[in-house]
């Protein structure tokens, strides 16, 4: 378990190996975001994206899944997430998440916790970035164990 003190600004962790399959894109979007270009391959071919693309929620969910494969962080709360989707995620993508600590500060009023900003990049096997993430997390210090 990584506490506030264990996470250094500039340090990164990576998790990989999530394959996005067409049937998973369709199943996820059918439940949560049933836009034609996420659930219907024919409609997707005729759409501006020219083919099936994952819902942004699905792409974010894959990032969460890969994050859970890294050594856990002693999180208290996730406060804010900024998601940019520079390119759509598509069937056949093999996705890798890299999370980098870009800022941290201990709480002035509560020494058992601190705030850490992580920048995440989710990219496919060609290096195409499908999600850029900036997450502000509240994390326990060792005093907060």
């Amino acid at each position: 378990m990584r506490h506030f003190e264990d996470i250094q600004v500039g340090s990164s962790m990576t998790a990989s190996g999530h394959e996005l399959r067409a049937e998973d894109i369709i199943a996820f979007a059918s439940q949560w975001d049933p836009q034609p270009w996420h659930v219907d391959p024919d409609a997707a071919e005729r759409s501006p994206m020219r083919g099936l693309t994952a819902s942004s929620v699905h792409t974010y969910a894959v990032a969460a899944l890969l994050l859970n494969r890294m050594e856990p962080v002693a999180g208290i709360a996730s406060i804010k997430h900024e998601l940019e989707l520079p390119n759509p995620a598509r069937p056949g993508d093999q996705l890798t998440l890299t999370m980098t600590c870009v800022d941290k500060r201990v709480s002035d009023s509560k020494p058992d916790r601190g705030l850490i900003t992580f920048d995440g990049v989710l990219a496919n096997q060609h290096g195409t970035v499908v999600l850029k993430l900036r997450s502000l997390m509240m994390v326990k210090t060792r005093a907060g164990r």
Copy 2:
């Protein structure tokens, strides 16, 4: 289908009626974000949040689901989403999404499309806000039909 011209700055739409059940929180998080406080009621009771809370991905997915119940927007791409989670979503929450257009501009180079910024608020039956969303969407103009 709402095109760029149909969406006025200051206009809002609302969709409601999603109940968050404990078993849904656990099922979603088991698949995508298996933190103890999302999947294990006993561990959740002992966590700083004092009880089961929905994964931020699940909360965002509910917002997408409710968005899909509104009159559809002629979207081309979702470009950026900022998510703030001021309070956790919990079992028994009855969630309502309100989306307000806060900015729009037509593309200078491509008159078939424009960019619209929507502010979203997902709140429970007590008015507690569980997700604040700011979304930048590329939307077709009528010329882009």
